[in-house]
Every structure is written in structure tokens, then in C-alpha cells.
């Protein structure tokens, strides 16, 4: 046997192992993303190696910082659980924002205005409920409701403009981002500013959606109420798109508006509904961000999580469960970067590089799937021939 054929054999065995792992088409929607995430960590490791650091340590530190693995030492009243709960707290607005983007994408729309809708919802909830004297049993549900309504109205308005005047939703939502950002800054500066922090005044503890410094088992931790709601709503949303009539109509309009019209679906109404629903989720992202993770609003800035939501939604393949997983992953990288910086000496920007790589690799999903199918066919064919011989 010549060297070439031996190499070929080796290569085939390698391909067979890969195929064994990700070849089953039933599980490919899970196995391929995992493979791609592993690949992006490998690629990031190479970069960390080039920087002269230990990539395994750096990545381990990243997970330690996020509360997935224990750190060697903790400050008083802190533990891994504290870190993990604040990870969930950080992750909550991201889940909502990504779900908002995903709803719009299912309906063939691109909601780049999640940040604006978040800010509007957060602002209105802050001034109506956040600064009131309501007790927590009343204030917390009202914050959620006000946020949903405010976000839904702005989202619905963008949908209405598209339906009535055929204004592209990308353009109008970017414009609304600016309008909301600057108009609300004016109000915050004029009426609600805290002169020391240069942010809006803090909201009442009763209205805050994150329970801060709760004492449990001798530890102090932040518990996000919004996180539980986010998980429940993700499950509801998944069932909504899989099973409900309205979900079917939204998907039909998203996949083929002309075909949907032909089928008798009211396309204009569905567009408005889709954007309203997307806005409702953006509103929830807003209140869990400004009245949960934070307790005040910084004027003249939009929350970057509204834009990150686009990437996270795509990484999660617009599937609500996928979005929970991808939010979790991206949050870990975000949250762990400081600790990685201080422990491994790898700059925290490298964390953004890892996030970027994951998004880049996940964009290749369809290509990889295609490649695997081709390889599988070829191997099966070769195997068939060998068998015949």
C-alpha cells in the first residue's frame, strides 16, 4: 500500500468520525452549532496563543468570571451562586431583545429599533411607576404592563407606517431610535436628572424587577424576576409559532407575502401585529434593563443589547429555545471578560473577538450542512462500491 492511500484512509477515518458526530440530520440543528462554537473557541485560542497567553486558562477564567466554574476566592457574602445569578440578571434583557428581533424576522421584518423601543418603555415605566409610591405587589406587575404597552405601541407604529405608507421598517425604526433617544434625553435632563450621577434618579425598590442584595444562605445576591418571565415567554412563543393560527399567518407573510395574500391572509394587519408583538418584547427588554439590571437611565445613550439582540437571534436561528442558549453563551463571554482580563492578562476586548468569531462561524451553518451532506453521499457511495468489489 502506498503512502498516499494510507493518508487517504486516515483522512477518511477522520471524516467518518466527524460525520458520526454531526451526520444525523435529525439532530443537526443542535450538533452543528455546537461544532461551530467549538471551532470558534479553537480559533480564538490560536489568537490568545499568538498573544503569548495560555488559551485554556483564559477561557477557563472567562467561565469562572461568569459564575459557571468556581473562582479560587470570593469576597465576603459572595460565591459562585452570586456570580451565576448576576449572569442570569444580565442575560434577561438580552433574551427579551433577541426574542423581539426573532419575532420580526419570522414575519419577514427587520426590527433594528429594539433599543429605541426599550428606552421608551423603560422611560415611561420609570416616570409612571418607578417614581410612584406604589407597594411592590402593585408596582412590579404594572412596570411590566406599562413596558409592554409602550414598546408595543412604538413597534406597532413602525408596522403601521410600513403598511400605510410603505415606509421601510429599517429606516423608520432607525429614525425612531434617534427621536426617542434625544427627546427622552431632554426630559431626563429637564425633570428627572440626578445631579451627582448625571443619570435619571433611582427608581423605588418596590418597582425594581431585580431583587438586589437579597440575603440567602448567608450570601447576598441579585435575583432577577424578569428571568423567570423570559423563560416562560420563550416557551409560550415557541408554541405560538409552532401551533397557533396567528403564528402560522405571521410565518406565511414572512416567507412569502404575495403567497400569503393569495391564501387570504390580511398582510397589512399581520405586519402591524408582528411589529407590535416585537415591540412588546422589546418593551420587556427595556423594563428588565432600565428597571431591573439598572435602576436608572443614562441620557443620550441607547442600550447596545438592543443591537446585540440581532446577532443573538440569528445565532439562535430565531428559535426561542436556541435564543435562550445563545443568550446564555454570549452573556457568559460578556460577563467573564473582566475576570479573564485580571487573571489571565488577556485584554477584555478578546472576549468580543470570541463573540465575533462565534457569529461569523454560525453564519456558515447552511454551508457546513451542505458540505456534510455531500461528504456523506460520497462516502456512502464509496462504501457501496468497495462492498461490491
Amino acid at each position: 500500500m502506498s503512502e498516499k492511500t494510507i493518508n487517504k484512509k486516515k483522512e477518511n477515518t477522520f471524516i467518518r468520525i466527524i460525520l458520526k458526530l454531526v451526520g444525523n440530520e435529525k439532530w443537526q440543528h443542535i450538533t452543528i452549532p455546537i461544532l461551530l462554537i467549538l471551532l470558534s473557541f479553537i480559533a480564538a485560542s490560536i489568537i490568545i496563543l499568538i498573544l503569548g497567553k495560555n488559551p485554556l486558562m483564559a477561557i477557563y477564567n472567562l467561565f469562572q468570571g461568569a459564575g459557571i466554574f468556581p473562582k479560587p476566592s470570593y469576597a465576603a457574602h459572595k460565591s459562585m451562586l452570586t456570580d451565576f445569578l448576576s449572569l442570569l440578571n444580565y442575560m434577561t434583557p438580552m433574551i427579551f431583545a433577541s426574542l423581539a428581533v426573532a419575532i420580526a424576522l419570522k414575519g419577514g421584518l427587520f426590527n433594528i429599533g429594539v433599543s429605541g423601543q426599550m428606552l421608551l418603555a423603560g422611560f415611561i415605566a420609570t416616570i409612571t411607576i418607578g417614581y410612584s409610591n406604589l407597594n411592590w405587589g402593585l408596582a412590579k406587575p404594572l412596570v411590566l404592563i406599562v413596558g409592554m404597552v409602550a414598546g408595543g405601541i412604538l413597534g406597532g407604529l413602525i408596522g403601521f407606517l410600513k403598511y400605510k405608507f410603505n415606509i421601510n421598517e429599517v429606516v423608520s425604526s432607525i429614525m425612531f431610535n434617534y427621536i426617542v433617544e434625544y427627546v427622552l434625553s431632554f426630559f431626563i435632563h429637564s425633570y428627572y436628572i440626578d445631579p451627582v450621577s448625571r443619570q435619571s434618579r433611582y427608581i423605588s425598590d418596590a418597582s425594581r424587577l431585580t431583587l438586589v442584595n437579597v440575603e440567602l444562605f448567608g450570601l447576598k445576591m441579585d435575583i432577577s424576576i424578569g428571568f423567570i418571565i423570559a423563560i416562560i415567554l420563550a416557551v409560550v412563543l415557541k408554541r405560538f409559532f409552532d401551533k397557533s393560527r396567528v403564528g402560522f399567518e405571521i410565518k406565511a407573510v414572512g416567507a412569502n407575502p404575495k403567497g400569503a395574500k393569495y391564501a387570504g391572509i390580511n398582510v397589512g394587519k399581520t405586519i402591524i401585529l408582528t411589529m407590535t408583538l416585537s415591540g412588546v418584547f422589546a418593551g420587556l427588554a427595556g423594563v428588565t434593563y432600565y428597571l431591573g439590571y439598572f435602576a436608572s437611565i443614562q441620557p443620550k445613550t441607547l442600550a447596545s443589547v438592543g443591537f446585540d439582540g440581532v446577532a443573538v437571534a440569528l445565532l439562535g436561528n430565531t428559535n426561542p429555545y436556541g435564543i435562550i442558549a445563545s443568550s446564555f453563551l454570549i452573556s457568559i463571554i460578556d460577563r467573564g471578560s473582566n475576570y479573564m482580563n485580571s487573571m489571565a492578562g488577556v485584554r477584555k476586548e478578546i472576549a468580543s473577538v470570541i463573540t465575533g468569531m462565534i457569529l461569523l462561524f454560525s453564519a456558515c451553518n447552511a454551508y457546513i450542512q451542505h458540505k456534510i451532506r455531500m461528504k456523506k453521499d460520497k462516502l456512502e457511495h464509496v462504501a457501496g462500491k468497495e462492498h461490491e468489489e
Binding site: S244, R245, F248, K251, A252, K258, Y262, I265, N266
Partner: protein, 509 residues
Amino acid sequence: MYEYIVEMRNITKRFPGIVANDNITIQIKKGEIYAILGENGAGKSTLMSILFGMYEPDEGEIWIRGEKVKILSPNHAAKLNIGMVHQHFKLVSNYTVTENIILGVEPIKKLFGIIPYVDIKGANEKVAELSKKYGLKVDPTQKIEDMDVSLQQRVEILKMLYREAEILIFDEPTALLTPQETDYLLKIIEELRNGGKTIILISHKLEEIKRVADRCAILRKGKLIDVLDVKTASTKTMANLMVGREVSLEIEKKPAKFGDVVLEVENLSVRNQDNVEVVKNVSFKIHSGEIFAIAGVAGNGQVELADAIAGLTEISNGTIKLNGEDISHYTVRERTIKGISYIPEDRQTYGLILDFTLAENLALKDYYKEPFCQKGKLNKDVINEYGRKLIEKYDIRSSLGVNTKVRQMSGGNQQKAIVAREIELDSPLMIFVQPTRGLDVGAIENIQKMIVEERDKGKAILLVSLELDEIMNIADTIAIIYNGEILKVAPKEELTVEEVGEYMMGVTA
């Protein structure tokens, strides 16, 4: 010297789950028109894609001009002087004819002997000369976006000729053409043959093969059934061999029994997006038990008329009455509920949602009703069960049954799915626009039979077709539309094919 210019010996090509070509041998002589006939999915296109270097055969040999070759890519095929006109053209729409033709083989000249530039002027002359030689009537400086389908096709032909192709493959070239354009194209093909080219014509239309081809290979389910001399074989024999059973080209019809008026259109006008009136003051009535056919050359307003009745386009004037009820301003769904089935011309844009499953598409007009949907919740089991029933009844073929994404199905089966869904709606008025476009003889026969059956059940049928044969075959009443106006309405018996043809061209005398 060689006996055959193209020889494909014992070609076998397998795809997962299917043998597309099973041990096929064809031998083509220089200067003949060799037709390849077969149903949708018989393996015609695969065989030609192998010859054009797009697929590699699993087994078998290809000999070109007496030499054994391995064709690795379309570029390689072009070097062997093989050219192909695909069903879907591959042209850049904002480029001129010449720019499209020279793309990739630009003639380079040098200004002052150093600065290279593309010699558009020379290329224009060469293209014009080629166009004249074969009677293609193409203006080399016109842009593709300003040309109609038939002209674009001729640009594709010129592209092959410019690259000095000797063996020309046409993949269902007449699928998108009107009868007149088809006529013209067939003349061009004969002209090319007389000019010494070898033509391979993939088709499932028997008349055109009968008209121009010299020999004809018949494929069925991936196997070569027979090679016939077209001059001596009858269309009937060819059809039977192709389908594998007796096919009747004439549909048997009982005399029509007209009932009450179902659809009444009065002074209907429709404007298009550019505010041009495309349907002008049209009035007609369709009775139950009547097949009312609208004949006309493509683009004379028949599609807009059908869209307006179905509710997809707004009308600018007039009334539409269904069973006496004015439905002129009803929504699409209201009209569907009142009783309109509609098979649209463009099945992929309107008729289907390609990324949805077959079952979902089959229930596309019923999904919101009981039992498919209860209290806002879709019942997947009922939808799938209904899908299976229709797949069985209408012989819709797909790889994964009800769970197949419609995008992955063949055009013929997509069309069958739409026909199945619309007939199952059981509406008193059924609008069929080009229901048999792109289908093979067997499927055409089935669909035409179904239309006649529906008529006999007392449905009113509005048939819009570009195929004059189809109209003459099954219509009870014929209306001829020209430039948005109905020129003539008459019972079929009172009109001859020639008369209808003349009206279609706008001759009213």
C-alpha cells in the same frame, strides 16, 4: 473520421434514493436535430447536464467526435464546442446583448499597442453578423431588461454561437413562449441545423418534436425506452412510449349542460401599478357547467383579469357578481369563502409558500377553519392527515411526503399540489390560469380530465391559457382577449383554430 459527433455510452447517474440515468446509450450524428423526450423527472435534464459537464456520471463513457473525453465543467464543455440554453436564462439584466455575450471571453485590443481595452465595437459587429446569419433579429446594443423572454432566449442562442458552439443543447426551450414565439424559435432551430450545427432538443411537447426533429430518444424513469425516427413515428406512439401507457390526446367530453349564471363581470376595468389600464371595460357571464376559456397572447390583460376576479388586484371600474352577489370589493378570503378557487399563473410566487411543508401548503386556504384550527390552535395531525389524503388522490410525488418542503419538489408536482388544493375547495367558480404549463403529456391529460369532471359536476370554470390546443380541446365558450379588451365571445363550435389565432393577433375583420 467519426460516425457520431456525440456518443454517450452506458451512462449511469445515481442521486440519493434514485437512479436518474440507468445505463443510457445515445448516439448523435453531426447535423441532425436529436430530440430527447420524457416526462418530468424522466432524467432528460440530468443526462444533458452530464454532457454539459455539470455532473460527473457514476458509470459510462462520453465520446465527442470519435474521442473519449471526460467533461469536468461547463467551461470544459464549451472548449469542446458544446453549448447549452438553460430553462432559466443566465443573463445580466442591466448589460447590453453584446456585453452579456462577450462576458468571460472579452475580445481585448490594445490602444497604442499598450493600454488594453475591450473591443465592444468589433464585438457588436460580430454579434450583429451572427444574428443576421441565423435570422435572430437581435439588436446587439439593447439592454436585457428591455427585452421579452423570447428575445432573451435568442441572446442565449447567440451566446453559444459567438463561442463557436457546434453542438447546441436546448433545455425545454418553448416552455415560456407563446405559440407565435415557439413557431419562430423552431424556425431558428431548423436554420441552425441547416447551417451545420448539431442540435439536441430536450422537450416533452410532441408537436414541436414532430415538426423539427430528425430522431428522438424516449426516456422513462431514467431508462432509455426507444430511439425513433420522427418522420415515421406517430405522435400517439411517442406519447404512449413516453408515459408508458395509452394516452388520449383528445379529451372525451359530454356535451355541456349550462345552468344558472355563476359569475357575471360587467364593465370591468383594471389599472396596473403604473396606472395604465390593462383590462378595459370587459363584460361576460359564466354559467354553471361551462368551461369559459380566455385565449390570448401573453401580456394582454388576462392575468390581471383573473387576479381582479380573485381579489388580488383592485378594480378601477365595474362590478363582479358571484351567484348574484356583488363581490367587487370583498377581500380575498371573503371571496374564497363565497366560492372562488384560483390557480394563479405564477405558482412559485403566489400559489405556494415554498418554505412551508407540503401539508401546510395543501391546507393553505383552509387552515383557519375547523377542524384544522380549533380556538386559534392549529391541529397538525388533521392538517397532515388531510395532506396525505390529497397526495394519494392527486398522485403528488415528493421525497418526504407531507413533511417535504415544497421548494424541494419538482415544478410538475408543485403544480399538482395547487390543483389538488383548489379543486378540493369545491368552489362553484374555479379560475385556472395556465393549469398545465410546464407539465408533461400524462399530467396534462389528468388535469384536463379533472377540469372537465368539475364542469360536469356543475362548476363554472374560467380557463386562461396560452395554449391554443388546450383551449380548443376543453373549452365550451371561447373569449379572445387582445390588449385588455375582449374582442369576441362565441361557443367553441362556431370558431376555428385559425379564427381564434387571428383574433389573438388583434385582427377583428
